[in-house]
């Protein structure tokens, strides 16, 4: 990171965290830094690199599916590709992304704190993250090859396959620890380090979303940790836990896996909802509609979301009572998400809306996430799910939620906060062009999945019947458009970090949370004096004053 040209103060400002290396110099000033901002940047570099790997795999999967079979790779390679794509995108990218990049960088600033509660633990969780991620990449090159079980690791197949299962499972186990540590850290930070005057309901909604997420990370992640450990024990020592040939129960594995992996959907999506809740009021220049409802709906999602895991298993043959309860709760967990969507839309009402790139992504989030959520509701219905489960419908649904939601949320956050992080502005015109290419490519890619699913195309299929081909061709063309948009977007952002227009003003977008009251880029320990908070976020007093003046005139 060359910092020579970066904002050495013209106005007598303190050096930013990018320049102030602390005790160590050069690369070590990054690798051994406990500054939450530097750790956030290190997460960003690692995570976006893995995102590039995941996108490449997705691109190759789509290329393979251009014809009914044998376009570019053999079935074994294909099975490894979709497994790796899932493992990387879920466990390495979307689960940690927003908390570890933007949470790390901005949560302490938004709370008016100097750092997270446990800075060294924070650095440790970065190292765990990197070790886990690199292990997954190593599993590709080590003898045996990458796992070919799908990211769900279903037993008995995952006990039988000759691929590097233990390596992959250990990696995910380590990634889980990283996630738990981040959760513990943020929960403590939010409880203990809020600035004077910042009551719970004066916290920005992004902090609320990380709070809800922190609880899910801490409570749900150990379940997947122990599950994967048990699978390793089963594979290594032949102890019968899940494997039927050893007297185990494969369905027990599915229950334990989804007990984490459903809540993980909310670890993935709730922070993105937090980002959207920040962006919408800022670019509408008005207070957010229904602050408390948005805050509590995050908690509602966290609570109800941990009680619906078995909706992934309606076809395994559970008792009717279980099917009844899990279907009903699945429908109910949609309500807090719906409340958020309605409140965001209402926040646009009588705003003063500016369609800057972050806002475009935020609005796209609402649209795409709504499709994701609504396709989830469709599968909540028992009889329909029996038909649609394990088809392309679920693949379309997960991509609308995870990519259309969290992926687009990450892009929104990048366009919103990157200028603050580096003190450089990207080219807004290029950003908007990239946005539209991504938006169009996304829908051309993923909407046909929903149609394929309704037509009965099973997921994880290397080979398919010729009657499905037309939809696969459309989707593959969509993937080209999407990837083109991504390349333009990332190129534009990277270029801005190196040579974008220098920004020194504190409040780039007219936001009212504390990160817009610090220097751009922020200084080490964020504030010269710890701020005192008197108001709820997104008050936009100027609207009120105008209002009062008008009333006085009247």
């Amino acid at each position: 990171m060359s910092s020579n040209s970066l904002a050495v103060d013209k106005s007598g400002n303190l050096p930013s965290y990018l320049i102030d290396e602390g005790k160590r110099k050069g690369i070590l000033a990054w690798l051994l830094s406990t500054d939450h901002k530097r750790i956030g940047i290190m997460y960003m570099i690692a995570l976006l690199s893995f995102f590039a790997v995941g996108v490449t795999l997705g691109f190759l999967i789509r290329l393979e599916l251009l014809t009914p079979q044998g376009t570019i790779v053999n079935p074994q390679a294909y099975n490894e590709f979709f497994t790796l794509h899932g493992v990387i995108m879920i466990f390495i990218v979307v689960v940690p992304a927003i908390p570890s990049i933007f949470g790390n960088f901005f949560l302490p600033i938004m709370l008016g704190a100097k750092d997270v509660a446990f800075p060294r633990l924070n650095l440790l969780s970065w190292y765990l993250y990197v070790v886990g991620s690199i292990m997954i990449l190593l599993s590709i090159v080590l003898p045996g090859g990458a796992a070919d079980t799908g990211w769900t690791f279903y037993i008995p197949y995952s006990v039988r396959t000759g691929t590097n299962m233990i390596f992959t499972l250990t990696a995910v186990f380590i990634l889980g620890f990283s996630s738990i540590l981040t959760g513990v850290n943020f929960l403590t930070t939010i409880h203990r380090l809020r600035a004077p005057g910042m009551g719970w309901f004066k916290m920005p909604l992004f902090a609320w979303s990380l709070y809800a997420t922190g609880w899910i990370q801490v409570l749900a992640t150990p379940i997947v940790g122990i599950t994967l450990l048990l699978v390793i024990i089963e594979r290594v020592f032949g102890v019968g836990l899940f494997d039927p040939t050893l007297g185990g129960d494969p369905i027990l594995f599915q229950h334990m896996f989804w007990m984490y992996s459903h809540p993980a959907v909310y670890i993935i999506i709730v922070p993105a909802m937090g980002v959207i809740s920040e962006i919408i009021p800022v670019f509408s220049r008005r207070t957010i509609f229904g602050y408390k409802f948005i805050a509590f709906s995050s908690i509602g999602i966290a609570v109800f979301g941990s009680l619906v895991w078995a909706h992934h298993m309606f076809a395994v043959g559970m008792s009717n009572n279980a099917e009844f309860v899990f279907s009903l709760l699945t429908f109910l967990v949609a309500i807090p998400s719906a409340i958020k969507v309605f409140n965001w839309t209402a926040t646009l009402y009588k705003g003063s809306i500016e369609l800057e790139p972050p806002m475009l992504y935020a609005l796209a989030f609402i649209f795409l996430f709504s499709i994701g959520g609504l396709t989830g509701i469709i599968q909540g219905a028992l009889n329909v799910d029996i038909y649609l489960t394990d088809t392309y419908f679920i693949v379309g649904h997960i991509h609308y939620v995870v990519f259309g939601g969290t992926g687009i949320g990450i892009f929104a956050a990048l366009h919103y906060w990157l200028p603050k992080m580096f003190g450089r502005m990207y080219n807004k015109k290029v950003a908007k062009v990239a946005f539209w290419i991504i938006f169009v490519g996304f829908n051309i890619l993923y909407f046909p999945f929903l149609i394929l699913g309704w037509l009965g195309m099973p997921r994880r299929s290397y080979h398919y019947l010729p009657r499905f081909q037309v939809y696969h061709v459309i989707a593959t063309v969509g993937s080209w458009i999407l990837v083109l948009g991504l390349i333009i977007m990332f190129f534009n952002l990277l270029k801005s970090i190196r040579s974008g227009k220098v920004v020194t003003e504190k409040n780039i977008w007219g936001g009212e949370s504390l990160e817009w009251q610090t220097q751009t880029p922020p200084i080490t320990e964020n504030f010269v004096d710890i701020p005192v908070v008197n108001e709820a976020p997104y008050e936009y007093k100027q609207n009120e004053e105008e209002f009062l003046e008008k009333e006085e005139v009247l």
Binding site: Y157, I353, E354
Partner: protein, 215 residues
Amino acid sequence: MFADASSFVQSVNSTFIFIVSVCVFFLALITTMMIIFVFKYNRKKNKKAVNIHGSVPLEITWTVIPTILVIIMFYFGWEGYTLMVNAPANSMVIKVTAQMWSWKFEYPNGVKTDTLYVPINKPVKVLLHSQDVDHSFYVPAFKFKKDVIPNRNNTAWFLPEKLGKFDVFCAEYCGLRHSYMYSAVVVMKQKDFDTWLSAQEEKQKDNDTTSAVKL
């Protein structure tokens, strides 16, 4: 006349159409509102925003109405599902065996085939056995599937209502050739089915005797 391929088709279709209609309505509503607001309250036209902190009546409205709607959806889904649960007592029982990566079907009289032949308008109960890993017995035309899990011996049933040949897929990923794990259900007239079954029985007996002779 368009007959449904199985007795489940109608309930799955109607539940799906109902939920999709509600979803499309809400998606259109949200999207239209967003577009209208973005144009109407664009900063170029609307320099000053108005703060509206919220509205409890509105919050209650958009909590209660969706809650009622999803409970109705749940009910349709549940009602449709209960049709799938219990096989009628007069069902023909066929044993389905899944293994990596093929299907085997075994009839009460011992006949074994790779393709599933069934008579029309007669309920069929399938006993689902897996020899190795998880599979899922999936007949898209019948709008129905059930996982085939080792040691678990799931059962399922269906009532074919249309003559023809329909695909059978494996819906649960099961390794290398998962996507080649095809078979078919052939729905025949009762008369044709009886003829077919007895012919198969004969053939199988012949085979058994010839192989016995060879031994």
